[in-house]
Symmetry: C2
């Protein structure tokens, strides 16, 4: 069951009794939680907060931010190792800006990822105050890799709040060196440069992966069940559930990056949660450039299925939790247009966004992490993140991991 720990009956009955989130008005949900936590929050308000740092790639919230977003992205050697990166990155970023600006315009003028992350973080921390009064108050911080608020903005806010204890919480459920790894490398770099956040000023612990977290899996399953309702009952169980995750260059896969295997684990857990009611496949999207990427590709798979007469397909973005350009533009506009030409009845499971099952899941995840850490059942990092890839070519990773393993205390790495 996903609700493993007790919450007060008020919260449970109002926000979580229903298995379908569409019956729950988001506002009522927030108001109820606020009422519940009034007392502990005020009594704890003089303490510096326990920080929950939500790390993600981020996206430009407005069109004028697109260029800087792309520029940071192409400068990230952990993500895209280019030769002469400092010269090439600005050129590529500038050249791609108009096209990407148009894509963000088409989805409403910017990425909603900051809006959703703030929403999730606030609701999660309200629950945490109730679940973990011993570490309350909890405050969400956002550290995006390529858009504001950046890691430096996050650390500045934490410093102002006097934070001494923080959880680095990757918002990527599955770990890749090019996503979570890059965010953690950036945290180490900025903290060491600015002083605050490194050298023991903050006690860090890391939640680096949670691919089969029970609440995450149920939240995905619930959104798939809802999406499948769009098909007539007699065809519903034959709809292809097509999981789609951002692909990875094979060069990174072959180094031993754990991402593809962890995405596959999520997919199997979700299908298991659904009782294997439908056929499914895992495919990969967003390949760019001349390199070979992990396949099969999402768009080709849809074309292939249409050729063998499978025309009912429900897409499920499985490696991001919030909507962003890859769901709202690539899947909902580009892929959908192609599918319509092929006569495919394509739907998409909603991203987790404001799913109360998802928000309860991340609250439970962080709650357990804090309790396990405080009780000494876990250390600052897990065993898996300590293991560098067998083909690792990035010495930064090793240093970051050593630093994190000491809870951010190490000064010599």
């Amino acid at each position: 069951m996903i609700f493993q720990r007790p919450l007060t009956s008020v919260v449970r009955s109002s926000a979580f009794a229903s298995s379908s989130r569409v019956t729950l008005p988001a506002l009522a949900f927030r108001r109820t939680l606020a009422t519940v936590r009034d007392a502990p929050a005020s009594s704890a308000s003089t303490k510096a907060p326990t920080a929950v740092v939500m790390m993600n790639m981020g996206g430009p919230s407005t069109i004028p931010e697109v260029h800087d977003f792309l520029s940071r992205l192409f400068h990230d050697h952990d993500l895209i190792p280019l030769p002469f990166q400092s010269i090439l990155a600005p050129v590529i970023a500038k050249r791609r800006t108009p096209q990407i600006e148009k894509q963000y315009t088409d989805i409403g003028g910017g990425s909603p990822i900051l809006k959703w992350t703030r929403y999730q973080g606030k609701a999660m921390c309200e629950m945490l105050d109730e679940l973990n009064p011993e570490s309350a108050p909890h405050k969400p911080y956002v550290a995006f890799r390529y858009a504001k608020p950046l890691t430096e903005d996050c650390l500045e806010e934490m410093k102002k709040d006097g934070v001494k204890r923080a959880v680095a919480f990757s918002q990527y459920p599955q770990y890749s060196c090019s996503t979570t790894g890059s965010s953690l490398n950036e945290l180490f770099r900025v903290a060491r440069k600015d002083g605050y956040g490194a050298e023991g000023t903050v006690e860090w612990s890391v939640l680096d992966r949670w691919p089969v977290n029970q609440g995450l899996v149920e939240a995905f399953a619930q959104n798939i069940r809802t999406a499948l309702q769009a098909y007539p009952e007699e065809r519903r169980n034959d709809v292809v559930v097509l999981f789609s995750a951002h692909s990875l260059p094979l060069e990174i896969v072959n180094r031993g990056d754990p991402y593809t295997a962890e995405v596959a684990a999520t997919v199997h857990a979700v299908m298991s949660q659904l009782g294997f009611t439908n056929p499914w496949r895992l495919t990969w999207q967003s390949q760019v450039g001349p390199r070979a990427w992990q396949g099969p590709q999402t768009a080709s798979a849809i074309e292939g299925f249409s050729k063998i007469g499978k025309k009912d397909i429900c897409l499920v973005p499985i490696a991001f939790t919030s909507d962003h350009i890859e769901t709202l533009y690539e899947l909902d506009i580009e892929v959908k247009e192609e599918a319509e030409k092929l006569g495919v009845h394509l739907t998409r499971a909603e991203s987790l966004n404001d799913s109360p099952i998802f928000i309860r899941a991340i609250a439970d995840l962080v709650s357990k992490h804090l309790k396990d850490y405080d009780a000494g059942r876990i250390g600052a990092t897990g065993k898996q993140i300590q293991l560098r890839c067998p083909g690792c070519t990035n010495p930064k990773c090793g240093k970051t991991k050593e630093w994190l393993a000491t809870g951010g205390k190490a000064v010599t790495v």
Copy 2:
């Protein structure tokens, strides 16, 4: 828990009370079960048995069988689609025979896969007679794809026994078109050619994949725990658990073959069962020929780990259940030799072979399958096997799947 259904206290206390199979003499285990089932077995002995057909690739039991094994393998268009296959296959088989004969000589004169399959099948069916008296007696049959007993031998034996109900039980826990798919295509081909087994003479149902079966996962976990005992306690939890599965050409992965994702699901379930005590990676072995294969490669990963100072590595074959040439020769001789040169302390978790946890797992799996089928909760096949790969290039697969979906009744496909 893995033991979901009750068995008599005699069996439970003697064979399964211990979590470690090394404490259980195999002979005592078999004798106990035989005693338990004497009564139901004799009363049911006039009925034709319910067949449990254990499908696998097989291996040559003796050196003189190597050539025919290779010849069948290179003739299998579902596994290796060669141009001019009927001309090329004999040439390649003949050329490779001496080298492969030497490998089988080095592991003791043949593959133990038939021995283990027979052992597992016998013990499984003895349990099934007790778990499912309504469908007793149960009899194990072996249908290997490239070695004796072949599908035709299996069907001939079934015919002689008057079998009318059979479970096609893939011994590959994870489904690939080139393994389980090839075996099922062969079943359809031979049954249709010989008459018996097709056109409703046998009522078939299919157990085509079971990658995260709880007993399977616990059996793997148990063998890993045992293997890790070889390391001193202070280093034990830092040993890299290196799962290794037979690789697949990327051409097949890119068609949408579900194998790699299902192997990853097994790996995650096993690590979860172990409580994520150790760092781990999933790598792929046995690549041959000029094509690109799914990586990273097992041998390269060991080399890479040794370079970054990770010298304690425990190999875990995760996509086969019994020992065969890929474990006994490739891992235990070839890979081990290379690892020793690198100063790596390499161990290997035992294959499941005679693991009583594993045998109880497959008995439970088939038991539930039979009960669910008889109660109408499942059909002849699951939803997933019905979905051909989006890039499928093998029309045989579609026909086989149509035939299996009718429980082997269809005559027009």
